[in-house]
């Protein structure tokens, strides 16, 4: 293994991750510096249930109109995000648990996942370029983040195949892209996964307070406003 690769797999990877963690902490701290909305009305619902269902919206495609109407959009979303998880785990597996990649099934599963994620990513890119509404709202970051992730998936799939071969430059590029992604994520829309629980929590909390989104038996409902 070249010295460059060793450096990328360990020191640089850890440094990039630390930077990302620090940037995340600053972002969240900054967002929490804004005052929260305080409810002065009496609650009508059961917070824990509604907040939980809000947090798990991602796993409840029937609750979102777009997912209901276009199941393939949801399938793309799932595949794309599983691919992201697989590619990120690969950046840990290769330097720390390489023995896992000696198992043929693991290698094949990773490859299929990453290639599927790449296909989903390309479909997303095509959609973004071909839909006028999406083109209008897309920023430079939207395109760059998508291209970067697609590149990450392809390199990931390729890296597994070449892990035991001679082409270490592919592995090197994969880790270089991984480090760049870690540095770039806090400043891009990819950071949405960090905000997701907070946004969903606040929306769920507001809905729960008002008893929105759950079936209320009328007889229970008529007294729910009681002190």
């Amino acid at each position: 293994m070249s010295e460059y690769l060793r450096l990328l797999e360990h020191e640089i990877h850890i440094a990039a991750l630390s930077f990302m963690g620090l940037a995340y902490a600053i972002r969240v701290f900054w967002l929490f510096s804004f005052r929260p909305v305080t409810e002065k009305s009496l609650p009508a619902g059961h917070p824990s249930r509604t907040v939980a269902s809000s947090l798990f919206t991602v796993a409840r495609p029937w609750t979102i109109e777009k997912h209901r109407r276009t199941p393939v959009f949801y399938a793309q979303f799932v595949v794309f995000h599983i691919g992201a998880a697989a590619a990120i785990s690969l950046t840990f597996i290769i330097p720390h648990w390489p023995e896992l990649l000696a198992i043929e099934a693991v290698v094949r599963l990773m490859q299929v996942t990453l290639i599927a994620a790449f296909v989903a990513g390309m479909a997303r890119l095509y959609r973004r370029l071909s839909d006028p509404s999406l083109r209008l709202i897309s920023t430079w970051d939207d395109y760059f983040a998508l291209v970067m992730m697609n590149l990450f998936y392809v390199l990931g799939a390729w890296t597994i195949s070449n892990r035991c071969g001679a082409c270490s430059w592919i592995v090197l590029t994969f880790f270089l892209v991984a480090a760049l992604i870690h540095l770039y994520v806090p400043f891009s829309k990819i950071v949405h996964y960090l905000y997701y629980p907070f946004v969903r929590y606040y929306l769920g909390k507001a809905m729960a307070h008002r008893g929105i989104g759950r079936y209320v038996h009328p007889e229970e409902s008529s007294w729910r406003n009681k002190l």
Partner: protein
């Protein structure tokens, strides 16, 4: 609408007026931003799922500017320029910018007031949970503060500030209407002891109405008075603070919101009422039951409910009797956005309707997924946006048509007008009523009292 915005900060030369507006905008941003709004500002991934949920985007599929994310982005750009430290460093990458010239402010006004009813359907259908409706209201509030607000909305808001009600109803008009309603009801029910009391202390219910019930449509109040009489309720109207509507909700002006809701809360406290009941009004219910307490910084201490919930309570407690065979036509129900998506009342009106109608049929989608009547967000007071409103009402019209019902029922005055407007425009063979109209029709008088209803 063209997708354009002037980027002052990126180098265009502002005149002094624009510069002043820019400073004001920045100040208002800093003062008003809440944590929930800030999270919605930073979380959009531009997936475009919201376009499938918005009646504007669905009806005008050829116009990408109707996508909720695009509308929200117009204010998000200013956030990125003014508040977001990443946007300040990398303004180009995040499309950060700010509109401060008059033309840009007017364009922003047309987007947030004229191209969004704040129905919140996109929020409920956003995979992340970005509250675009809250962003729109936040922007409306900033523009209102800066005086960039449609005239009709501004006039109604001014009326509320000056007279305590949106239609500037005088005290004489108020008492005249109540006298007329009382006389009509006494005749209709054939009773002499029916009274509509004002400012009576220690009642169980303080009832707040929409000023149109005093000025143009006394039947709504008459229905409520009939209900309370037959239920043997102890109720009163306040002399001041009876207007439950709240243009602070539409304009994003929380101070007006606090003033209007506070009038009613103070009246309830002064009269030692044990429950606040609001007549059928979507935004009135939302304002009084939910937002108003926070705006007025007033901890809720007494139950607050819609009159539809009151009807349900009476039916469950056996205080009134109804005959569903008095409403034999087919009836469908339109959920008001402010009542269902913002207020959580979905089952209650349906339960009541099933008691008072013999042929109730659902509209699809419904409940929190229902489409807006297109008259929400104060759009009915802004005639300049009427053509666009009626164009996008096609979605609602199609929804209504499929039900094949004779009557569409709602529990909101704005929805009633909005639906009436689109029914005329799309020539649907339907009439619009409110829940209380059907309840009043179905109410059974006590034995021995036949009244003079048929006359």
């Amino acid at each position: 609408m063209k997708g354009r915005i002037v980027n002052l900060a990126a180098g265009s030369q502002p005149d002094s007026r624009s510069a002043t507006q820019y400073r004001m905008l920045s100040r208002l941003f800093r003062e008003r931003l809440t944590r929930e709004i800030a999270f919605s500002m930073v979380s959009c991934v531009h997936c475009g799922a919201c376009a499938q949920a918005c009646h504007y985007a669905l009806a005008r599929a050829h116009d990408p500017c109707m996508t909720p994310a695009y509308k929200a982005d117009q204010i998000r750009r200013m956030f990125n320029r003014n508040m977001n430290w990443i946007g300040r460093i990398l303004s180009g990458r995040l499309n950060a910018g700010t509109s401060a010239a008059d033309a840009d402010m007017e364009r922003l006004r047309d987007i947030v007031f004229g191209a969004c009813t704040g129905c919140r359907r996109c929020t409920f259908n956003c995979p992340i949970g970005v509250d675009n409706a809250a962003l729109i209201r936040f922007t409306r509030g900033i523009l209102t503060e800066m005086g960039v607000v449609p005239e009709g909305l501004s006039n109604a808001s001014r009326n509320q500030w000056l007279s305590g009600n949106q239609m500037s109803v005088t005290e004489e008009e108020f008492f005249d209407s109540l006298d007329w309603i009382k006389a009509e009801l006494q005749y209709e029910l054939g009773v002499g002891d029916l009274d509509i009391l004002v400012d009576k202390e220690d009642c169980d219910i303080i009832y707040a109405v929409n000023p149109r019930e005093i000025k143009y449509d006394p039947h709504s109040l008459m229905n409520a008075a009939k209900l309370f009489y037959l239920a043997g309720e102890s109720w009163t109207l306040p002399r001041y603070g009876w207007d439950q509507t709240n243009f602070g909700l539409f304009s994003g002006d929380d101070r007006l919101g606090a003033f209007m809701a506070g009038n009613l809360y103070r009246a309830a406290e002064r009269l030692r009422a044990r429950r606040i009941v609001v007549s059928e009004c979507g935004h009135g219910y939302r304002s009084v039951r939910w937002e108003g307490y926070s705006w007025a910084n007033n901890q809720q201490t007494i139950p607050t409910e819609s009159v539809v919930e009151t009807v349900m309570r009476y039916l469950i407690e056996g205080r009134i009797k109804v005959d569903r065979l008095r409403n034999t036509g087919s009836v469908t129900f339109h959920d008001s956005c402010n009542v269902a998506r913002y207020g959580g009342l979905v089952e209650e009106p349906r339960w009541v309707l099933k008691q008072v109608c013999s042929d109730f049929r659902e509209m699809y989608p419904n409940g929190v997924n229902n489409f807006c009547c297109t008259g929400g967000g104060g759009l009915l007071t802004m005639p300049e946006y009427r053509p666009l409103r009626l164009e996008v009402a096609r979605i609602k019209a199609d929804q209504l048509k499929v039900t094949e019902a004779d009557t569409v029922c709602t529990m909101c005055h704005n929805c009633r007008d909005g639906l009436g407007d689109l029914i005329d425009h799309y020539q649907l063979n339907m009439k619009v009523v409110q829940v209380m109209d059907l309840v009043a029709e179905a109410l059974v008088l006590p034995p021995g009292n036949e009244g003079n209803i048929n006359e």
